[in-house]
């Protein structure tokens, strides 16, 4: 290895195991929610909330955004928020057309 190699790296096995467990538990929760019989709309809302939580956890911890500077975090959050806003506008428009 070259460049930055050789630095003393702390043992993070426990941290990685926690990450793995959180991700696996979230995935199993998503499958469980999808299989629970009930009101379809609430199932979708719950699934989207779980998927969003998993994506944020992924970005912050496995992609180490939580250790990056505020500027980089803001830069990464921007396109995510834009897509979410666009989605909300489209959903609101669809709901308006449906109610009209």
């Amino acid at each position: 290895m070259s460049a930055t190699a050789g630095a003393s790296v702390p043992n993070r096995t426990r941290e990685y195991l926690v990450m793995l467990v959180v991700m696996v538990v979230l995935t199993i929760l998503e499958v469980a929610v999808a299989l629970i019989p009930g009101h379809a709309s609430w199932t979708v809302v719950l699934l989207l909330a779980l998927a969003l939580a998993q994506a944020v956890y992924f970005a912050l911890y496995t992609m180490h955004l939580s250790r990056e500077t505020v500027a980089l975090r803001r830069m990464a959050a921007g396109p995510g928020l834009i897509a979410a806003l666009y989605g909300l506008v489209l959903i609101a428009e669809a709901a308006w057309r449906h109610l009209r």
Binding site: S2, A7, L72, A94
Partner: protein, 213 residues
Amino acid sequence: MTTAHAHVHPQITARWPPDAQFGRTSSAKLAMWIFLLSDWLSFAGLLLAYGILRAGSAVWRHPGEPGLNVPFTCLLTLVLIASSISVIVAHDSAQAANRQRTMLWLGITALGGVLFLTGQYAEWFGILHPGLTHEGLVFGRSAYASTFYVITGFHGLHVTAGVIYLLAVLARTARGVASAGEVELVALFWHFVDLIWNLVFVLVYLVPTGGGG
């Protein structure tokens, strides 16, 4: 400049003072983030189009079209999640200058990607059992079929690119020329591929199940 300095590796000499906004983040890492964010917008476009089509359809899955195999795909999702952890271990090993361990974990991560792709191939075309294409899920016949193949196919291309990228970094590590920064970049790409898959899994596989198909 002395003779000793003239032979120093350029990656070591290029140490700039920390940037006011981005600290010691390298330009390569910033470039990777910008690429990932633009790639995210491509996926966001596909997923939003899927959502609009799905919400606007009175019947999403037409008679004769097969459902998706959620338990099998859940297993593939867990493989990708595990590979995301293994690539973090590879990055840590690279930072500790442990070449053998870096190669091992990069190899395990690439294997995870190959397993995922094999699973996706089996789902589409079938290996031990008939695939979706043989069961009546035909591209172009319905929005359900087309969005499924376009979204999972676009993601599959990313996994393929990720496996090639991982193997390229592994080869460079074996030759002793890869830096820990390079391993970090491939790890970022691989995490992104995994993050996107979790969204695809929920929206494409689970929402139709929850919504009654």
